[in-house]
Protein backbone atom coordinates (compact mmCIF):
# COMPACT_ATOMS: atom_id res chain seq x y z
CA UNK A 1 0.00 0.00 0.00
CA UNK A 2 1.41 3.34 -0.95
CA UNK A 3 1.39 6.49 1.10
CA UNK A 4 -0.80 8.07 -1.52
CA UNK A 5 -3.74 5.93 -0.48
CA UNK A 6 -3.74 7.05 3.12
CA UNK A 7 -2.75 10.66 2.45
CA UNK A 8 -6.44 11.45 1.92
CA UNK A 9 -7.24 10.11 5.39
CA UNK A 10 -4.40 12.13 6.88
CA UNK A 11 -5.72 15.27 5.20
CA UNK A 12 -9.20 14.63 6.52
CA UNK A 13 -7.83 13.88 9.96
CA UNK A 14 -5.96 17.18 10.08
CA UNK A 15 -8.83 19.31 8.80
CA UNK A 16 -11.23 17.65 11.23
CA UNK A 17 -8.49 18.06 13.81
CA UNK A 18 -9.13 21.81 13.75
CA UNK A 19 -12.72 20.98 14.72
CA UNK A 20 -11.39 18.63 17.42
CA UNK A 21 -9.30 21.49 18.86
CA UNK A 22 -12.53 23.46 19.18
CA UNK A 23 -14.22 20.53 20.93
CA UNK A 24 -11.19 20.18 23.21
CA UNK A 25 -11.62 23.81 24.25
CA UNK A 26 -15.21 23.35 25.40
CA UNK A 27 -15.19 19.71 26.51
CA UNK A 28 -11.88 19.63 28.36
CA UNK A 29 -10.99 23.25 29.15
CA UNK A 30 -14.43 24.68 29.92
CA UNK A 31 -15.86 21.34 31.04
CA UNK A 32 -18.88 21.99 28.82
CA UNK A 33 -20.35 19.40 26.43
CA UNK A 34 -21.28 21.73 23.58
CA UNK A 35 -23.60 20.27 20.94
CA UNK A 36 -23.65 23.53 18.98
CA UNK A 37 -20.84 21.90 17.00
CA UNK A 38 -23.27 19.83 14.91
CA UNK A 39 -24.75 23.11 13.69
CA UNK A 40 -21.70 25.35 13.56
CA UNK A 41 -19.69 22.90 11.42
CA UNK A 42 -22.17 22.96 8.49
CA UNK A 43 -22.68 26.68 9.19
CA UNK A 44 -19.03 27.21 8.34
CA UNK A 45 -19.45 25.18 5.17
CA UNK A 46 -22.64 27.00 4.22
CA UNK A 47 -21.27 30.50 4.74
CA UNK A 48 -18.04 29.76 2.87
CA UNK A 49 -19.81 28.03 -0.05
CA UNK A 50 -22.55 30.65 -0.39
CA UNK A 51 -19.99 33.46 -0.41
CA UNK A 52 -17.67 31.71 -2.86
CA UNK A 53 -20.55 31.03 -5.26
CA UNK A 54 -21.54 34.68 -5.07
CA UNK A 55 -18.02 35.63 -6.10
CA UNK A 56 -16.28 36.47 -2.83
CA UNK A 57 -12.55 35.70 -2.50
CA UNK A 58 -12.14 32.25 -0.87
CA UNK A 59 -9.98 33.56 1.98
CA UNK A 60 -12.58 36.17 2.87
CA UNK A 61 -15.35 33.54 2.66
CA UNK A 62 -13.38 31.28 5.01
CA UNK A 63 -12.85 34.06 7.53
CA UNK A 64 -16.54 34.96 7.33
CA UNK A 65 -17.34 31.32 8.15
CA UNK A 66 -15.12 31.56 11.23
CA UNK A 67 -16.96 34.68 12.39
CA UNK A 68 -20.34 33.04 11.79
CA UNK A 69 -19.25 30.10 13.94
CA UNK A 70 -18.21 32.45 16.71
CA UNK A 71 -21.63 34.06 16.58
CA UNK A 72 -23.29 30.64 16.90
CA UNK A 73 -21.12 29.91 19.92
CA UNK A 74 -22.10 33.25 21.44
CA UNK A 75 -25.79 32.32 21.10
CA UNK A 76 -25.27 29.07 23.04
CA UNK A 77 -23.18 30.96 25.59
CA UNK A 78 -25.88 33.58 26.13
CA UNK A 79 -28.60 30.93 26.43
CA UNK A 80 -26.51 29.14 29.04
CA UNK A 81 -25.23 32.06 31.12
CA UNK A 82 -27.82 34.81 30.85
CA UNK A 83 -31.02 32.77 30.37
CA UNK A 84 -29.77 29.88 32.54
CA UNK A 85 -30.72 27.13 30.11
CA UNK A 86 -28.84 23.89 30.86
CA UNK A 87 -25.62 23.58 28.83
CA UNK A 88 -26.55 20.49 26.85
CA UNK A 89 -29.97 21.89 26.00
CA UNK A 90 -28.57 25.30 25.06
CA UNK A 91 -26.28 23.59 22.54
CA UNK A 92 -29.10 21.45 21.15
CA UNK A 93 -31.36 24.49 20.73
CA UNK A 94 -28.72 26.46 18.84
CA UNK A 95 -27.86 23.42 16.73
CA UNK A 96 -31.53 22.87 15.83
CA UNK A 97 -32.02 26.52 14.95
CA UNK A 98 -28.85 26.52 12.87
CA UNK A 99 -30.23 23.80 10.61
CA UNK A 100 -32.80 26.28 9.28
CA UNK A 101 -30.25 29.09 9.24
CA UNK A 102 -27.86 26.98 7.17
CA UNK A 103 -30.57 26.18 4.63
CA UNK A 104 -31.42 29.88 4.42
CA UNK A 105 -27.79 30.81 3.86
CA UNK A 106 -27.35 28.20 1.13
CA UNK A 107 -30.81 28.65 -0.39
CA UNK A 108 -30.91 24.87 -1.03
CA UNK A 109 -29.65 21.71 0.61
CA UNK A 110 -26.41 21.43 -1.34
CA UNK A 111 -23.99 23.84 -3.01
CA UNK A 112 -21.41 22.29 -5.35
CA UNK A 113 -18.09 24.13 -5.58
CA UNK A 114 -16.65 22.10 -8.43
CA UNK A 115 -15.99 24.84 -10.95
CA UNK A 116 -15.50 27.59 -8.36
CA UNK A 117 -12.32 29.19 -7.18
CA UNK A 118 -11.57 27.89 -3.68
CA UNK A 119 -8.62 28.10 -1.30
CA UNK A 120 -7.45 24.82 -2.79
CA UNK A 121 -7.62 25.81 -6.46
CA UNK A 122 -5.69 28.95 -5.53
CA UNK A 123 -3.19 26.87 -3.58
CA UNK A 124 -2.61 24.53 -6.49
CA UNK A 125 -2.26 27.42 -8.91
CA UNK A 126 0.40 29.04 -6.71
CA UNK A 127 2.41 25.94 -5.75
CA UNK A 128 1.83 23.69 -8.73
CA UNK A 129 4.99 21.64 -8.36
CA UNK A 130 4.71 20.51 -4.72
CA UNK A 131 3.54 16.96 -4.14
CA UNK A 132 1.12 16.30 -1.27
CA UNK A 133 0.29 19.99 -1.30
CA UNK A 134 -3.07 19.58 0.45
CA UNK A 135 -1.52 17.42 3.14
CA UNK A 136 1.26 19.93 3.72
CA UNK A 137 -1.24 22.79 3.84
CA UNK A 138 -3.49 21.05 6.38
CA UNK A 139 -0.51 19.98 8.47
CA UNK A 140 0.90 23.50 8.68
CA UNK A 141 -2.50 25.10 9.29
CA UNK A 142 -3.52 22.59 11.98
CA UNK A 143 -0.17 22.96 13.75
CA UNK A 144 -0.35 26.74 13.53
CA UNK A 145 -3.81 26.77 15.08
CA UNK A 146 -2.71 24.29 17.75
CA UNK A 147 0.26 26.48 18.70
CA UNK A 148 -1.87 29.62 18.73
CA UNK A 149 -4.38 27.86 20.99
CA UNK A 150 -1.55 26.77 23.30
CA UNK A 151 -0.26 30.32 23.48
CA UNK A 152 -3.74 31.68 24.09
CA UNK A 153 -4.35 29.27 26.97
CA UNK A 154 -1.21 30.47 28.75
CA UNK A 155 -2.14 34.15 28.62
CA UNK A 156 -3.89 35.83 31.57
CA UNK A 157 -7.15 35.55 29.68
CA UNK A 158 -6.58 31.91 28.74
CA UNK A 159 -5.64 30.94 32.29
CA UNK A 160 -8.81 32.59 33.57
CA UNK A 161 -10.75 30.53 31.03
CA UNK A 162 -9.11 27.30 32.19
CA UNK A 163 -9.83 28.20 35.80
CA UNK A 164 -13.47 28.86 34.87
CA UNK A 165 -13.76 25.25 33.70
CA UNK A 166 -11.86 23.95 36.71
CA UNK A 167 -13.27 25.98 39.60
CA UNK A 168 -15.61 28.89 38.79
CA UNK A 169 -16.00 29.91 42.47
CA UNK A 170 -12.27 30.34 42.80
CA UNK A 171 -11.67 32.44 39.71
CA UNK A 172 -14.76 34.56 40.38
CA UNK A 173 -13.34 35.31 43.84
CA UNK A 174 -10.25 36.59 42.01
CA UNK A 175 -12.30 39.07 40.02
CA UNK A 176 -13.09 37.23 36.78
CA UNK A 177 -16.54 37.32 35.17
CA UNK A 178 -17.00 33.59 34.65
CA UNK A 179 -20.06 34.06 32.44
CA UNK A 180 -18.03 36.17 30.03
CA UNK A 181 -15.35 33.47 30.05
CA UNK A 182 -17.84 30.74 29.11
CA UNK A 183 -19.24 32.88 26.29
CA UNK A 184 -15.76 33.71 25.00
CA UNK A 185 -14.75 30.03 25.13
CA UNK A 186 -17.84 28.92 23.22
CA UNK A 187 -17.19 31.65 20.62
CA UNK A 188 -13.62 30.58 20.07
CA UNK A 189 -14.50 26.90 19.98
CA UNK A 190 -17.32 27.24 17.46
CA UNK A 191 -15.20 29.63 15.40
CA UNK A 192 -12.63 26.85 15.00
CA UNK A 193 -15.39 24.31 14.25
CA UNK A 194 -16.88 26.55 11.55
CA UNK A 195 -13.42 27.19 10.10
CA UNK A 196 -13.00 23.45 9.87
CA UNK A 197 -16.41 23.18 8.18
CA UNK A 198 -15.48 25.89 5.67
CA UNK A 199 -12.23 24.08 4.80
CA UNK A 200 -13.98 20.71 4.49
CA UNK A 201 -16.58 22.17 2.13
CA UNK A 202 -13.88 23.61 -0.14
CA UNK A 203 -11.75 20.49 0.12
CA UNK A 204 -14.53 18.06 -0.77
CA UNK A 205 -16.02 20.44 -3.34
CA UNK A 206 -19.48 21.00 -1.86
CA UNK A 207 -21.36 22.20 1.19
CA UNK A 208 -24.31 20.16 2.38
CA UNK A 209 -26.97 20.90 4.98
CA UNK A 210 -26.46 17.42 6.43
CA UNK A 211 -22.66 17.55 6.65
CA UNK A 212 -22.75 18.35 10.39
CA UNK A 213 -24.56 15.28 11.66
CA UNK A 214 -22.39 13.49 14.19
CA UNK A 215 -19.61 16.09 14.15
CA UNK A 216 -19.61 16.44 17.94
CA UNK A 217 -19.20 12.68 18.41
CA UNK A 218 -16.28 12.66 15.97
CA UNK A 219 -14.79 15.58 17.89
CA UNK A 220 -15.24 13.84 21.22
CA UNK A 221 -13.81 10.61 19.80
CA UNK A 222 -10.75 12.52 18.61
CA UNK A 223 -10.21 14.22 21.97
CA UNK A 224 -10.67 10.94 23.85
CA UNK A 225 -8.40 8.94 21.54
CA UNK A 226 -5.86 11.74 21.90
CA UNK A 227 -5.98 11.52 25.69
CA UNK A 228 -5.38 7.78 25.43
CA UNK A 229 -2.30 8.22 23.26
CA UNK A 230 -0.71 11.28 24.83
CA UNK A 231 -1.33 11.81 28.54
CA UNK A 232 -2.46 15.45 28.78
CA UNK A 233 -0.07 16.62 31.49
CA UNK A 234 0.37 19.95 29.73
CA UNK A 235 -1.72 22.05 27.36
CA UNK A 236 0.84 21.41 24.62
CA UNK A 237 0.38 17.65 24.96
CA UNK A 238 -3.41 17.87 25.28
CA UNK A 239 -3.90 19.85 22.06
CA UNK A 240 -1.38 17.67 20.24
CA UNK A 241 -3.41 14.70 21.44
CA UNK A 242 -6.64 16.16 20.04
CA UNK A 243 -5.01 16.64 16.64
CA UNK A 244 -3.43 13.19 16.62
CA UNK A 245 -6.70 11.69 17.84
CA UNK A 246 -8.53 13.17 14.88
CA UNK A 247 -5.94 11.75 12.45
CA UNK A 248 -6.01 8.31 14.08
CA UNK A 249 -9.80 8.32 13.99
CA UNK A 250 -9.71 8.89 10.20
CA UNK A 251 -7.09 6.19 9.71
CA UNK A 252 -9.18 3.76 11.78
CA UNK A 253 -12.18 4.51 9.56
CA UNK A 254 -10.07 4.07 6.46
CA UNK A 255 -8.96 0.61 7.54
CA UNK A 256 -12.41 -0.35 8.78
CA UNK A 257 -13.85 0.51 5.36
CA UNK A 258 -11.10 -1.39 3.58
CA UNK A 259 -11.92 -4.42 5.69
CA UNK A 260 -15.43 -4.28 4.35
CA UNK A 261 -17.39 -2.20 6.87
CA UNK A 262 -20.41 -0.54 5.25
CA UNK A 263 -19.99 3.27 5.22
CA UNK A 264 -23.48 3.54 6.69
CA UNK A 265 -22.28 1.72 9.81
CA UNK A 266 -19.62 4.30 10.55
CA UNK A 267 -21.66 6.31 13.01
CA UNK A 268 -22.56 3.37 15.21
CA UNK A 269 -18.89 2.41 15.23
CA UNK A 270 -17.96 5.93 16.30
CA UNK A 271 -20.65 5.99 18.97
CA UNK A 272 -19.50 2.64 20.34
CA UNK A 273 -15.91 3.88 20.33
CA UNK A 274 -16.82 6.96 22.37
CA UNK A 275 -18.99 4.94 24.77
CA UNK A 276 -16.14 2.50 25.26
CA UNK A 277 -13.60 5.22 25.92
CA UNK A 278 -15.86 7.17 28.28
CA UNK A 279 -16.93 4.11 30.26
CA UNK A 280 -13.51 2.44 30.41
CA UNK A 281 -12.54 3.96 33.80
CA UNK A 282 -15.87 2.95 35.37
CA UNK A 283 -15.72 -0.58 34.00
CA UNK A 284 -12.15 -0.86 35.20
CA UNK A 285 -13.09 0.10 38.79
CA UNK A 286 -16.11 -2.20 38.85
CA UNK A 287 -13.99 -5.08 37.57
CA UNK A 288 -11.16 -4.44 40.04
CA UNK A 289 -13.65 -4.30 42.92
CA UNK A 290 -15.20 -7.63 41.83
CA UNK A 291 -11.82 -9.30 41.73
CA UNK A 292 -10.95 -7.89 45.14
CA UNK A 293 -14.25 -9.08 46.67
CA UNK A 294 -13.84 -12.58 45.28
CA UNK A 295 -10.38 -12.73 46.84
CA UNK A 296 -11.79 -11.42 50.11
CA UNK A 297 -14.49 -14.10 50.06
CA UNK A 298 -11.89 -16.82 49.60
CA UNK A 299 -9.85 -15.36 52.43
CA UNK A 300 -12.93 -15.10 54.65
CA UNK A 301 -13.67 -18.78 54.13
CA UNK A 302 -10.58 -19.39 56.23
CA UNK A 303 -10.38 -16.21 58.30
CA UNK A 304 -13.98 -16.01 59.55
CA UNK A 305 -15.15 -19.64 59.52
CA UNK A 306 -12.49 -20.40 62.12
CA UNK A 307 -13.81 -17.75 64.54
CA UNK A 308 -17.39 -19.00 64.18
CA UNK A 309 -16.30 -22.58 64.92
CA UNK A 310 -14.45 -21.51 68.09
CA UNK A 311 -17.50 -19.89 69.59
CA UNK A 312 -19.78 -22.78 68.82
Amino acid sequence: MTFQIISGSLEQGLVYGIMALGVYLTFRVLNFADLTVDGSFPLGGAVAAALIVSGAPPLLATLAALLAGMLAGAVTGLLYTKLRIAGLLAGILTMTGLYSVNLRIMGRANIPLLRQETLFTQLHDTFANITYLDLLFFLLLALLIKLLLDAFLSTDFGMAMRATGDNPDMIRSLGVDTQAMVIAGLCLSNGLVALSGALVAQYQGFADAGMGIGTIVVGLASVIIGTGIIRPYTIFRATLGALLGAVIYRLAIFFALRMGLAPTDLRIMTAVLVIGALSAPTIKTIWAERVRMRRQAEENAVLCRKGVGDNA
Binding site: T155, D156, R162, A163, D166, N167, S173, G175
Partner: protein, 265 residues
Protein backbone atom coordinates in the same frame (compact mmCIF):
# COMPACT_ATOMS: atom_id res chain seq x y z
CA UNK B 1 -13.50 50.68 56.75
CA UNK B 2 -16.38 48.29 56.21
CA UNK B 3 -19.85 49.57 57.03
CA UNK B 4 -22.88 47.31 56.97
CA UNK B 5 -26.23 49.07 57.41
CA UNK B 6 -29.65 47.48 57.95
CA UNK B 7 -28.71 44.40 55.99
CA UNK B 8 -31.61 41.97 55.45
CA UNK B 9 -31.70 38.73 53.53
CA UNK B 10 -34.31 35.98 53.35
CA UNK B 11 -34.03 32.77 51.35
CA UNK B 12 -37.08 31.02 49.89
CA UNK B 13 -37.76 27.93 52.01
CA UNK B 14 -39.98 24.94 51.30
CA UNK B 15 -43.02 26.47 52.95
CA UNK B 16 -44.78 29.77 52.47
CA UNK B 17 -42.57 31.75 54.83
CA UNK B 18 -39.03 32.35 53.65
CA UNK B 19 -36.12 31.59 55.95
CA UNK B 20 -34.78 34.82 57.36
CA UNK B 21 -30.99 34.62 57.24
CA UNK B 22 -30.04 38.22 58.05
CA UNK B 23 -32.23 40.58 60.01
CA UNK B 24 -31.27 44.24 60.12
CA UNK B 25 -27.56 43.62 60.59
CA UNK B 26 -25.46 46.68 61.41
CA UNK B 27 -21.71 46.47 61.74
CA UNK B 28 -18.80 48.86 61.43
CA UNK B 29 -15.32 47.46 61.00
CA UNK B 30 -12.58 50.12 61.12
CA UNK B 31 -9.66 49.77 58.70
CA UNK B 32 -7.11 47.31 60.02
CA UNK B 33 -9.54 45.76 62.48
CA UNK B 34 -9.84 41.96 62.77
CA UNK B 35 -13.32 40.76 63.71
CA UNK B 36 -14.11 37.18 64.69
CA UNK B 37 -17.68 35.96 64.24
CA UNK B 38 -19.27 33.12 66.20
CA UNK B 39 -22.76 31.69 66.44
CA UNK B 40 -24.57 28.37 66.13
CA UNK B 41 -25.44 26.71 62.83
CA UNK B 42 -27.85 28.76 60.78
CA UNK B 43 -27.14 31.94 62.76
CA UNK B 44 -26.28 33.81 59.55
CA UNK B 45 -22.47 33.99 59.83
CA UNK B 46 -21.71 32.61 56.39
CA UNK B 47 -24.68 34.45 54.91
CA UNK B 48 -23.20 37.69 56.22
CA UNK B 49 -19.83 36.96 54.61
CA UNK B 50 -21.47 35.91 51.34
CA UNK B 51 -23.60 39.07 51.36
CA UNK B 52 -20.47 41.20 51.78
CA UNK B 53 -18.73 39.24 49.00
CA UNK B 54 -21.75 39.71 46.73
CA UNK B 55 -22.58 36.04 46.16
CA UNK B 56 -26.29 36.98 46.08
CA UNK B 57 -28.22 40.26 46.10
CA UNK B 58 -29.48 41.38 49.52
CA UNK B 59 -33.11 42.31 50.16
CA UNK B 60 -32.49 45.54 52.09
CA UNK B 61 -29.71 47.73 53.41
CA UNK B 62 -26.27 48.46 52.10
CA UNK B 63 -22.62 47.46 52.26
CA UNK B 64 -19.97 50.18 52.06
CA UNK B 65 -16.25 49.57 51.77
CA UNK B 66 -13.92 52.53 52.31
CA UNK B 67 -16.79 54.92 51.73
CA UNK B 68 -17.85 53.30 48.47
CA UNK B 69 -21.29 51.73 48.20
CA UNK B 70 -20.76 48.20 46.84
CA UNK B 71 -24.28 46.89 47.51
CA UNK B 72 -25.10 46.45 43.83
CA UNK B 73 -21.66 45.54 42.54
CA UNK B 74 -21.51 41.98 41.11
CA UNK B 75 -19.36 39.44 42.91
CA UNK B 76 -16.47 39.40 40.43
CA UNK B 77 -16.19 43.20 40.54
CA UNK B 78 -16.06 43.28 44.34
CA UNK B 79 -13.41 40.58 44.23
CA UNK B 80 -11.00 43.26 43.02
CA UNK B 81 -10.73 44.48 46.61
CA UNK B 82 -12.04 41.55 48.69
CA UNK B 83 -9.95 38.44 49.34
CA UNK B 84 -11.69 35.23 50.41
CA UNK B 85 -10.76 31.89 51.90
CA UNK B 86 -13.50 29.25 51.93
CA UNK B 87 -14.14 26.42 54.38
CA UNK B 88 -13.56 23.77 51.75
CA UNK B 89 -9.82 23.66 50.93
CA UNK B 90 -10.70 22.53 47.39
CA UNK B 91 -12.78 25.63 46.70
CA UNK B 92 -10.04 28.24 46.68
CA UNK B 93 -7.69 26.81 44.07
CA UNK B 94 -7.92 25.32 40.57
CA UNK B 95 -6.84 21.67 40.96
CA UNK B 96 -5.81 20.99 37.36
CA UNK B 97 -3.58 24.06 37.21
CA UNK B 98 -0.11 24.42 38.69
CA UNK B 99 0.86 26.18 41.92
CA UNK B 100 2.46 28.88 39.83
CA UNK B 101 -0.57 29.39 37.59
CA UNK B 102 -2.89 29.65 40.58
CA UNK B 103 -0.70 32.29 42.17
CA UNK B 104 -0.36 34.28 38.95
CA UNK B 105 -4.13 34.37 38.61
CA UNK B 106 -4.35 35.69 42.17
CA UNK B 107 -1.64 38.24 41.39
CA UNK B 108 -3.90 39.65 38.69
CA UNK B 109 -6.82 40.01 41.10
CA UNK B 110 -9.29 42.52 39.73
CA UNK B 111 -7.15 43.39 36.71
CA UNK B 112 -8.38 43.14 33.14
CA UNK B 113 -7.14 39.82 31.81
CA UNK B 114 -5.57 40.41 28.46
CA UNK B 115 -3.63 38.40 25.91
CA UNK B 116 -0.19 38.93 27.36
CA UNK B 117 1.77 35.93 28.53
CA UNK B 118 0.55 34.99 32.01
CA UNK B 119 3.80 33.88 33.59
CA UNK B 120 6.97 35.90 33.20
CA UNK B 121 10.38 35.38 34.75
CA UNK B 122 10.00 38.43 36.98
CA UNK B 123 6.61 37.31 38.23
CA UNK B 124 7.93 33.81 38.89
CA UNK B 125 10.67 35.24 41.12
CA UNK B 126 8.21 37.27 43.15
CA UNK B 127 5.89 34.31 43.51
CA UNK B 128 8.71 32.07 44.65
CA UNK B 129 9.62 34.65 47.30
CA UNK B 130 6.08 34.83 48.59
CA UNK B 131 5.73 31.05 48.64
CA UNK B 132 8.92 30.57 50.60
CA UNK B 133 7.43 32.78 53.33
CA UNK B 134 4.80 30.10 53.92
CA UNK B 135 7.57 27.76 55.05
CA UNK B 136 5.94 24.74 53.40
CA UNK B 137 8.52 24.16 50.67
CA UNK B 138 5.94 24.95 47.99
CA UNK B 139 8.43 27.27 46.26
CA UNK B 140 10.08 24.11 44.92
CA UNK B 141 6.82 22.75 43.56
CA UNK B 142 5.82 25.62 41.28
CA UNK B 143 4.97 23.26 38.42
CA UNK B 144 2.97 20.77 40.47
CA UNK B 145 -0.76 20.67 39.78
CA UNK B 146 -2.53 21.94 42.90
CA UNK B 147 -4.67 18.79 42.95
CA UNK B 148 -1.62 16.86 44.14
CA UNK B 149 -1.25 19.01 47.29
CA UNK B 150 -2.78 18.21 50.68
CA UNK B 151 -5.80 20.09 52.02
CA UNK B 152 -3.59 22.07 54.40
CA UNK B 153 -1.17 23.04 51.64
CA UNK B 154 -4.05 24.08 49.42
CA UNK B 155 -5.56 26.17 52.19
CA UNK B 156 -2.21 27.86 52.85
CA UNK B 157 -1.99 28.59 49.13
CA UNK B 158 -5.53 30.00 49.10
CA UNK B 159 -4.65 32.19 52.07
CA UNK B 160 -1.61 33.53 50.25
CA UNK B 161 -3.70 34.07 47.10
CA UNK B 162 -6.34 35.92 49.11
CA UNK B 163 -3.83 38.26 50.77
CA UNK B 164 -0.96 38.76 48.31
CA UNK B 165 -2.49 41.79 46.59
CA UNK B 166 -3.31 43.44 49.93
CA UNK B 167 -7.10 43.52 49.51
CA UNK B 168 -9.19 46.13 51.35
CA UNK B 169 -11.06 43.32 53.07
CA UNK B 170 -10.28 39.69 53.90
CA UNK B 171 -13.13 37.23 54.45
CA UNK B 172 -12.35 33.94 56.18
CA UNK B 173 -15.28 31.53 56.35
CA UNK B 174 -14.36 28.80 58.86
CA UNK B 175 -11.23 28.36 56.84
CA UNK B 176 -9.63 25.81 59.18
CA UNK B 177 -12.77 23.81 60.06
CA UNK B 178 -12.03 21.07 57.53
CA UNK B 179 -8.38 20.61 58.56
CA UNK B 180 -6.80 18.34 61.19
CA UNK B 181 -5.88 20.15 64.47
CA UNK B 182 -2.17 20.43 63.68
CA UNK B 183 -2.70 21.81 60.19
CA UNK B 184 -5.44 24.08 61.50
CA UNK B 185 -2.97 25.58 64.02
CA UNK B 186 -0.45 26.13 61.25
CA UNK B 187 -2.98 27.88 59.01
CA UNK B 188 -4.20 30.04 61.89
CA UNK B 189 -0.62 31.04 62.64
CA UNK B 190 -0.13 31.99 58.99
CA UNK B 191 -3.42 33.88 59.03
CA UNK B 192 -2.39 36.00 62.01
CA UNK B 193 1.02 36.61 60.50
CA UNK B 194 -0.30 37.72 57.10
CA UNK B 195 -3.10 39.85 58.52
CA UNK B 196 -0.65 41.56 60.87
CA UNK B 197 2.03 42.09 58.21
CA UNK B 198 -0.36 43.67 55.73
CA UNK B 199 -2.64 45.28 58.32
CA UNK B 200 -5.67 43.74 56.63
CA UNK B 201 -9.24 44.50 57.62
CA UNK B 202 -10.57 41.02 58.34
CA UNK B 203 -13.78 39.14 59.09
CA UNK B 204 -13.30 35.57 60.31
CA UNK B 205 -16.12 33.12 60.95
CA UNK B 206 -15.22 30.34 63.38
CA UNK B 207 -16.89 27.65 65.45
CA UNK B 208 -14.02 27.66 67.90
CA UNK B 209 -14.75 30.08 70.76
CA UNK B 210 -11.16 30.04 71.91
CA UNK B 211 -9.94 31.13 68.48
CA UNK B 212 -12.72 33.71 68.42
CA UNK B 213 -11.46 35.34 71.62
CA UNK B 214 -7.75 34.86 71.13
CA UNK B 215 -7.49 36.09 67.56
CA UNK B 216 -8.31 39.56 66.28
CA UNK B 217 -9.52 42.57 68.25
CA UNK B 218 -13.30 42.28 68.16
CA UNK B 219 -15.71 39.37 68.58
CA UNK B 220 -19.32 39.37 67.46
CA UNK B 221 -21.91 36.70 68.13
CA UNK B 222 -24.79 36.07 65.75
CA UNK B 223 -28.10 34.41 66.50
CA UNK B 224 -31.02 33.93 64.13
CA UNK B 225 -29.73 36.48 61.65
CA UNK B 226 -28.92 39.19 64.18
CA UNK B 227 -25.76 40.38 65.88
CA UNK B 228 -26.49 39.74 69.56
CA UNK B 229 -23.08 40.49 71.03
CA UNK B 230 -20.22 42.77 70.02
CA UNK B 231 -17.22 42.93 72.37
CA UNK B 232 -13.80 44.48 72.05
CA UNK B 233 -11.02 46.09 74.09
CA UNK B 234 -10.57 45.35 77.80
CA UNK B 235 -14.00 43.77 78.18
CA UNK B 236 -13.08 41.23 75.52
CA UNK B 237 -9.60 40.73 76.91
CA UNK B 238 -11.07 39.72 80.26
CA UNK B 239 -13.55 37.31 78.67
CA UNK B 240 -13.16 33.54 78.83
CA UNK B 241 -14.73 30.86 76.68
CA UNK B 242 -16.90 30.09 79.68
CA UNK B 243 -18.21 33.69 79.80
CA UNK B 244 -18.93 33.56 76.10
CA UNK B 245 -20.87 30.32 76.45
CA UNK B 246 -22.88 31.79 79.32
CA UNK B 247 -23.67 34.87 77.26
CA UNK B 248 -24.78 32.64 74.44
CA UNK B 249 -27.07 30.59 76.71
CA UNK B 250 -28.50 33.74 78.27
CA UNK B 251 -29.29 35.29 74.88
CA UNK B 252 -30.87 32.13 73.61
CA UNK B 253 -32.83 31.74 76.85
CA UNK B 254 -34.18 35.28 76.63
CA UNK B 255 -35.35 34.61 73.17
CA UNK B 256 -37.09 31.41 74.23
CA UNK B 257 -38.75 33.39 77.01
CA UNK B 258 -39.90 36.01 74.50
CA UNK B 259 -41.43 33.33 72.32
CA UNK B 260 -43.21 31.80 75.27
CA UNK B 261 -44.64 35.16 76.30
CA UNK B 262 -45.82 35.77 72.79
CA UNK B 263 -47.56 32.44 72.69
CA UNK B 264 -49.16 33.03 76.08
CA UNK B 265 -50.52 36.36 74.92
Amino acid sequence: MLEIRHLCKAFPAGGLTPKIALQDVNLTVPTGSFVTIIGSNGAGKSTLLNAVAGVFPVDRGCVMLNGKDITFLPEHRRAAFIGRVFQNPLQGTAASMTVEENLVMAWRRGERRGLRRGITAGLRRQIRDRLSQLGLGLEDRLHTAVGFLSGGQRQALTLLMATMTRPDLLLLDEHVAALDPNTAQQILYLTEKMVAEEGLTTLMVTHNMEHALRMGDTTIMMHEGEIVLNVKGTKRAAMTVHDLLNQFKRIRGEQLLDDRMLLAD
